[in-house]
Amino acid sequence: MAFEVNSDCRYAENHEWIQVTGDTATVGISDYAQQELTDVVFVELPEIGDTFAQGEPFAVVESVKAASDVYLPISGEIIEVNDALEDAPELVNDEPYGDGWFIRIKVADPDEMDDLMSPDEYREFVAEQEG
């Protein structure tokens, strides 16, 4: 399956991407993830001020196929959520690395970024999973 990997992001095994700018970071799901989910029909986002540990579910994304948890790649506090997804969940399909972002967080521990995959590693990881 052909999918895009944004070279400015790092990736978690559950197919979330994260892009760090200073002490904040933006999180969304990868192009591969949105293709696997098919058309997204609903996204449930957390409240601003909620905090999550690395690997904790922070959002739910629903497609016609399934409802799936979305996990936070690194620990942090929610400082912004993408309200546009409420009326236009299709943004997750159309621009997974752009307007389809989910949340911004205040990064708790930058070292946790080391646990994540580089774009190339992620590409390989997906290829392996696809078998």
Partner: protein
């Protein structure tokens, strides 16, 4: 397409004309309680009759064609069950009647409790729960009560395999416990190593479907139950797949502490649009005192006369359903069990497993089979073909409608990409299984030669492919008069 009944309405038309009022009119309720202009359809009896008969003809049910909906056990519902449930002496009873006057009803319930307990290997059974997920709720409440009685309030972790029905974590959340997902191994069993880190004093229990949603009997089930028990936890059995086990394996003997039965799956009562469901729970001695109640007890006096009464189990979690559960459904399941007898139930499960393996053997020649083992009553294929990359499981499912078959469960279990979960049940003949297999093989051929044929399917159904995405994104939940439709309203 058949219009909704409101579209057939004509002002002043009426199906039943009442005679002139010849008794004093009673007072209307106070005006503030009355709604004005309740918008009801006005149709003649003939309009009404044709409307619903046409709708029934558009429907696909097991009385019309094969319905291989995995995990749902859409077996034939024998019509003798309906005869039994319509016996006047049962129909004309009321749950407020004194129990001395409904001893026959209680006798049926008591015997049904006994049959289910015997099949499941359990100490006692409660017929209260109204459906499978309701049985799960009962079972998780029982497990919670058990731990609290022992002062183990910290036991709130429920382990659930990644192949589980979505209702399992939902039931756990409803009783305020936490779910921890446990992954499956390469053979589709629970991964023992993934289980081990959670075997501690926080463990409340494990919810296990066996055979699981891959249609596979867990090869580690004895060890899994032992490990959970040794850690102080209890094991809940999701009995949705009990149709593979009747007379072969008793879950109580395997180590399950509580299990729900789906009378509307395994025991042939109506399912899916019919119903209602019924999800009795059986419990081992560990949890029997916690069963929801009341349940039926049988007394015998010195003269040998029997009498039935309702009792609450000693530490019952209480009532979880008004009155005594879905009694009419219990009568149907009772009739089913009595018609088949012990040997018949065993034969049913054996035939269900044989039918599934027959189809699996034919279809796995063409469709990928991710867990290549002898299956139980159902199996999971992948709806993707190497030489037809643009065709997905959904397209195959929709194309099956054109061949007169209900599509199998698809995209579940979640651990199989493009899953097609097929459960033929024991009630389909070899001829029907062959026709289904032929359709599936022909669809694989079509997928290669003409993928658009699949992508645009169904072609012969009352409606073509529905826009499920738009329905989910912009749901319209009740019929609206064209002038009220927000889609045509400029101001919205």
């Amino acid at each position: 397409m058949e219009p909704v009944i409101y579209e057939l309405s004509a002002p002043g038309r009426c199906a039943a004309h009442l005679p002139e009022l010849d008794v004093p009119a009673s007072q209307l309720p106070p005006e503030h309680l009355l709604r004005e202009d309740l918008d009801l359809p006005e149709v003649s009896e003939l309009d009404l009759m044709r409307h619903y008969v046409r709708l029934s003809q558009l429907n696909h049910g097991v009385d019309v064609g094969m319905y291989p909906l995995g995990s749902c056990t859409m077996k034939y519902n024998p019509k003798v069950n309906e005869e039994a449930a319509r016996i006047t002496g049962l129909v004309e009873t009321h749950p407020y009647q004194p129990v001395e006057t409904v001893q026959g009803n209680l006798a049926i319930m008591h015997e049904l409790q006994g049959y289910l307990a015997e099949l499941g290997g359990f100490e006692a059974v409660s017929l209260q729960p109204a459906a499978g997920a309701h049985g799960e709720l009962s079972g998780t409440l029982m497990i919670r009560a058990y731990h609290r009685d022992r002062g183990d309030d910290q036991r709130t972790i429920m382990l659930i395999p990644d192949s589980a029905h979505g209702t399992n974590p939902a039931s756990t959340a409803m009783v305020g416990m936490e779910t921890v997902e446990v992954r499956s191994d390469a053979r589709g069993n629970m991964e023992i190593e993934a289980l081990k880190p959670h075997l501690n004093e926080r463990l409340a229990g494990l919810m296990l479907t066996n055979p699981n949603t891959l249609g596979l009997y867990d090869e580690h089930v004895l060890e899994v139950c032992r490990l959970v028990h040794e850690a102080g936890g209890l094991v809940y059995g999701d009995g949705a797949n009990f149709n593979a086990l009747m007379g072969i394996v008793k879950p109580g003997d395997v180590g399950f502490d509580v299990l729900h039965y789906n009378l509307h799956k395994t025991f042939s009562t109506p399912h899916g649009g019919g119903g209602p469901g019924s999800g009795p729970v059986g419990a081992a001695p560990t949890l029997a005192d916690y069963l929801p109640g009341p349940i039926v007890a049988r007394d015998e006096n010195e003269a040998g006369a029997t009498a039935y009464r309702f009792v609450m189990p000693e530490r019952s979690i209480g009532r979880i359903k008004s009155f005594y559960g879905h009694f009419g459904i219990m009568v149907r399941a009772y009739a089913y069990i009595r018609m088949l007898g012990a040997q018949g139930l065993l034969d049913s499960s054996m035939a269900a497993v044989l039918n599934a393996n027959y189809l699996q053997a034919i279809l796995s020649e063409v469709y990928p089979l991710p867990y290549d083992r002898v299956c139980m009553h159902e199996f999971v294929l992948q709806g993707r073909l190497e030489d037809a990359p643009d065709v997905r499981a959904l397209d195959i499912a929709k194309r099956l409608i054109d061949f007169g078959f209900h599509p199998p469960t698809n995209y579940f279990p979640l651990i199989v990409p493009e899953a097609l979960m097929i459960e033929p049940t024991e009630t389909e003949s070899k001829q029907t299984l062959d026709r289904f297999a032929e359709a599936m093989l022909r669809i694989a051929q079509e997928a290669r030669e003409d993928p658009e044929l699949l992508q645009n399917a169904p072609h012969h159904a009352p409606l073509r492919r529905l826009d499920e995405v738009r329905a989910a994104r912009e749901p319209v939940l009740s019929w609206q008069r064209p002038e009220d439709d927000p889609a045509t309203d400029e101001t919205e």
